[in-house]
Amino acid sequence: MTTKNEPGKTYLMQGNEAIVRGALEGGVHFASSYPGSPSSQVLGMLGHIAEQMGFRAEWSTNETTALQSCMGASFANGRSICIVKQNGLLVQSDTIHCGALGGIKGGLVIVSSDDPDSHSSTNEFDSRHMAISANIPLLEPASVQETKDMIPYALDLSEELEQMVLVRVTTRICHGRGGVELGELPEKRPFTPIGEWDRMVGINWLHSFLLEKLERAREAFEVSEFNHYNGKPKAKNLIITGGTGMKYVLDSLEDLGIEDEVGVLSLGTLWPLPEKLITEHLADAEKVLVVEEVDPFLEEHIAAIAGKYKINIEIYGRNDIIPQIGELNPEVVTKALKEFMGIEDEKAPACGGEGCPAAEGLAIPERELTFCAGCPHRASFFILKQALRREGNHGVVMGDIGCYTMAGQRAGQYGYHFMSCMGSGISAAEGLGQLTNYGFDQPVVSLCGDSTFFHTVVPGLINAKMNNANILHIVLDNSATAMTGFQPHPGTGETAMGYETEKISIKALCESIGCPVWEADPFDVEETTQLITDLIRKDGLKVLILLQPCATLAAKTRAKKKVWVDADKCRGDNCGCDRYCSRVWGCPGNIWDFEKDCAAIDEVVCVGCGVCAKICPAKAIQVEGGEE
């Protein structure tokens, strides 16, 4: 990402880079975030250049603290940006509502990245609803260029209205690339001292100001350059798009050769909606197709506008001809356009059906996600499963969010029973565990990662302590926020701008509230299995920290040991073990040599952790220097 002041120069940029560039061109003083896909990379990039560009960038323990820090910076007329994923925006909900009521001083923009189709999320929640609920302005870019342009605009608007502004982006913007023409980098603006009688207080007598600010936003949006019209003027067939919808629609219309038959109104200012602009176009149209990501947000509000202004019109979209779930793509959009325009489908062979090349071709294996070679989570779930087997698989495991969420699949032997939002495992376990006082008699185990521990588990742990919970809580401490790309957290000792900071010890923190704590290494398969068995059988609240760095981190510091299979010892398929190493353990480094009918190690993939050697029943796997 370029930090140069080269107005007019065009670079290929990723959407996430465009957010960074937009923040620079908007003259931000403060940036904060808790990582989440698809916008995880943004604050890392900001942290990298913050020193040089003279602003502050921070990773926060969670999204709430991130936003509240921005509000503080805004009080002195500082400009700030807070970057979160859709779940993070929901975590911020109370802060946004109260903060909106109190208003802000320096421009404050929240960028919330949604993940339609949940490419790397557990859900595809639609952030746009937050703007309505909190009464704040909402923007959504249609391209990478607009993403860059919208951030400084949103900062200006926010300052003008003294209100926070929400910018919604989606995976195809964040992870997409396009040409971006740079704008000017501004001079840094000085702060304004906070006077004795200056206030930022969220209280209900400001409710009318909140609504009045929204009306002012609507006026600005009526003439905003982020709303475009393409195609036939005064079209009877009108398409209205939000976000990524615009480009898919323009491409598909061209492919279908009907670009001159319809009008396309692309909206970038989504809340409050520019009613005048919309009614002008609705007045000429007979029917409308709304193309947007995830929920029928625009569709339903445009229907409401049509109702309010008594415009009799047919409105289609996510409620009917576009599927209600999943992301937009050229296929979905083309199909919807054909249906909308009454274009017959040529009889293309159905995917996988008769005449489809795939149906007659080779069977090709799916690529299911799994833990990396040498991942400590694979070992942790392996031993947890072993320990639970000793209890007759009687225990209940309450999971949480991180790389270890993959343990719900084959990669972790379907290793947990419960998974919801970040921080929920421990408190759900607390509630369940309490039932043991009333006749429920299964042991309850909860899990979390180290980053998740700081994010939201701490209050849950204190709650568990206060209420004398009867659970074993396991912290899978891999010294990393691995899932989202290794961002610093309070236990890692670094900050976004590269400064050192004192590490916060999970063990000391647990002990300080009176929890008994054990530490163990998941690679010590036998000892740790025994320890978990013992802890499950013990009553009360117990915390076990399983310490072993993420394989990706370990690869940077640890010398790789050579690992190989002694073909004479390997029992092969025939005799007993049934390919235990690859079938049950399932590290991508453990492969099968079909010619020798014997286990093998993929040397490119194996990182030499040596754990498979410990679990092989025939002791056929050899590790350089012997097993530790």
Binding site: L12, H175, G178, K247, D251, P365, D602
Partner: protein, 202 residues
């Protein structure tokens, strides 16, 4: 002029860097470029793909419609087939690395990985031209398995549909690498480029 290229592989093979470098070089030359990247939780063995769309008219949406890829560049044989089936048409050209990466289901013994000859046969039957390049092997020879992606970009640049010269790609490389690493990348790029020009693996 419109060229659609799908670059695919599995997490960790350097897909994103490769498509970004190629895209930057083309933007520098004045083309309208869009790149769409599909990756889930990366680094953990999932399929990954980038859609690179080059045009001299306007910037297109980030996804190539099914059946409209002009070129498929695959860092893994089964991925070549997977993508060709969805995005290919009889005129599509394919360049693929011949080194397999086994999915979890195969390792576990529940799925089978097709024989390489069978994969090659099906690819050939469904495209207009294919190049089977041992890019990972070539990269290991050059001293680093990780640069297979740059070798594949060299191969892509050698295709007639790609309006790019090696020197133009080197400028994009020079914005990301310096010194010895830059030289090494330029060298391996040329091995891929020359391989295609010589018709290797065709």
């Amino acid at each position: 002029m419109n060229t659609n290229v799908v670059i695919c592989g599995i997490g960790g093979q350097g897909n994103i860097l490769a498509s970004g470098l190629m895209g930057s070089a083309l933007v520098e030359k004045g083309y309208k470029v869009s790149v769409g990247e599909t990756y889930g939780a990366s680094q953990r063995g999932g399929s990954v793909m980038s859609h690179l769309r080059v045009s001299d008219e306007r910037e297109r949406g980030v996804l190539i419609p099914h059946g409209q890829a002009d070129i498929v560049v695959a860092f893994e044989p089964v991925e070549a087939l997977r993508i060709l089936r969805v995005y290919g048409n009889p005129d599509t050209k394919v360049i693929y690395d011949t080194r397999p990466a086994y999915p979890l289901g195969v390792l576990i013994g529940e799925d089978e990985y097709p024989a390489l000859e069978d994969i090659a046969a099906e690819i050939d039957a469904n495209c207009s031209e294919s190049y089977a390049l041992p890019a990972t092997e070539m990269a290991v020879e050059a001293g680093n398995a990780k640069v297979a992606n740059i070798i594949m970009m060299g191969a892509l640049a050698a295709m007639d549909e790609m309006p790019i010269e090696p020197e133009e790609f080197f400028m994009a490389l020079a914005q990301n690498f310096k010194g010895k690493v830059l030289e090494m990348n330029k060298e391996v790029f040329m091995t891929g480029y020359n391989a295609i020009k010589e018709g290797r693996g065709k």
